[in-house]
């Protein structure tokens, strides 16, 4: 599933792995994705500071909402996962 980039809890200015705000130069406030980021690969958002987080996110679901940094409610099943933010909805793998 490719989420709606502007509203999905797995996209935005906060790192899905550590919950920190991405460096300013890679995030424009959420109105549009950074121009240097592949549009379907959210794990590359965040630049060098979050490269390790990006690697980790290939083997674990996001734990923080990309839109607001809140912790997500995550349910992992053998073949999928879902991540829900109380403000920004649910993303399903």
């Amino acid at each position: 599933m490719i989420p709606n980039r502007l509203t999905s809890p797995i996209t935005g200015g906060f790192c899905g792995h550590c919950g920190e705000l991405y460096p300013q130069e890679t995030f424009d406030g959420g109105s549009a994705p950074p121009s240097n980021v592949p549009q379907t690969c959210d794990v590359h958002v965040g630049g060098a500071a979050h490269r390790e987080c990006a690697v980790r996110l290939q083997l674990e679901p996001p734990r923080y909402c990309g839109q607001c940094g809140r912790r997500l409610k995550v349910q992992v099943s053998p073949h999928a996962w879902s991540a829900s933010c109380s403000r920004h909805g649910t993303a399903i793998s």
């Binding site: 919950g19 290939q58 083997l59 674990e60 679901p61 409610k73 995550v74 992992v76 073949h79 996962w81």
Partner: protein
């Protein structure tokens, strides 16, 4: 990995060839230390011998399982490796899975050819509410899915053991995790003896005991051998072998990943300790062993896999493991309802 050595080069492997492969008697703790101390060039020979032991004493089938968390996070225990403990500053939030989602996951798991579906809860032990949910879930799954159901719900009372057995739960998971001598470094909210008590009750009730290990938590090689010997003494039906994946917020979050060669030595050693036990690849193998190591382990004593995701982390795609089994000419074990 190409075989670059022979068992004849290493006395402990020659001993194991006779004692384990021919006579079916697992190695002792002292012998396991020797296996775990084998130099790198000996690892292929150790794995090859372990594979022969597995083929002779377990057969060529590979048992495939899916696992799912019915209750995630908020656990009152302090297992230092676990992101689901409510005592640590972990990003994992508490969440319950509803029964329709559980049944759906069981169906998806069965569709992969898996014969086992394990329902797990992050609890010290189940309360009445959880037991009622398990009963409901087991009934629904049995109505709709052809798959064996296992559970992992922490420490049980005798009554709860009997209830699970009567509901048709054929296997119960309760890990030792680590050696008795290292356990106090990893868990302080319950004792090793309490874990053993639940394991004993499960066996007494006629359920299959699944009792696993988590290695790479900073234990010594001697303690790793101690754990394998303690597991062997329990005679579990299955031993899931986990490799530490250091979780953010837990006391072990900065623990180094286990070396891949050490992990392969451990696989061979656990097989040589328990020639007839189902030895299952479980969590952490993706990080510790990668794709190549996964293959080597399946050719080195492993005869079962958890496919797909784990409880809070993601695994290799199920198709990757299933295709690997095809490549290795390893048939998936067929369903045999045991209860």
């Amino acid at each position: 990995m190409a075989t670059t050595s022979h068992t004849t080069d290493y006395p402990i492997l020659e001993t194991a060839r006779q004692q384990v492969l021919e006579d079916g008697i697992g190695l002792t703790e002292a012998q396991l230390v020797e296996v775990l101390r084998l130099p790198d060039p000996a690892v292929p020979a150790a794995l090859e011998l372990a594979h022969q032991v597995r083929l002779k004493h377990c057969g060529e089938d590979v048992e495939v399982e899916g696992i799912i968390s019915i209750k995630t996070g908020g656990c009152p225990e302090d297992c230092h490796f676990c992101s689901q403990s409510g005592l640590f500053d972990s990003p994992v939030r508490g969440v319950w899975l509803d029964i329709p989602e559980l049944v759906k996951a069981a169906k998806e798991t069965a569709a992969t050819g898996a014969t086992e579906f394990c329902i797990v809860a992050a609890v010290r032990g189940p309360d009445i509410k959880l037991m009622n949910q398990i009963k409901f879930a087991v009934d629904r799954i049995n109505e709709e899915v052809d798959i064996n159901i296992a559970c992992s719900l922490g420490m049980l009372t005798r009554h709860q053991v009997d209830q699970l057995a009567s509901w048709g739960v054929h296997r119960y998971n309760h890990n030792l995790e680590t050696a008795r001598s290292y356990f106090p470094q990893v868990v302080t909210t319950h004792s090793y003896e309490e874990r053993l008590e639940t394991c004993a009750m499960v066996k007494d009730a006629g359920m299959e005991l699944c009792c696993g290990a988590l290695i790479g938590m900073g234990e010594s090689l001697e303690q790793r051998a101690e754990l394998a010997a303690q597991l062997a003494a329990l005679e579990p039906h299955e031993v899931p072998l986990n490799f530490l994946n250091p979780r953010p917020g837990t006391p072990l979050e900065n623990q180094q990943l286990m070396d891949g060669k050490d992990a392969l030595r451990a696989i061979a050693a656990f097989r040589l300790a328990m020639p007839r036990t189902v030895l299952r690849y479980a969590g952490g193998r993706e990080l510790t062993l990668g794709d190549l190591g996964t293959r080597e382990g399946l050719l080195g004593g492993i005869n079962a896999v958890i496919v797909g995701n784990y409880l809070t982390t993601l695994g290799r795609p199920a198709t990757a493991d299933l295709n690997l089994l095809v490549d290795l000419n390893m048939p998936i074990k067929e369903l045999q309802k045991t209860l």
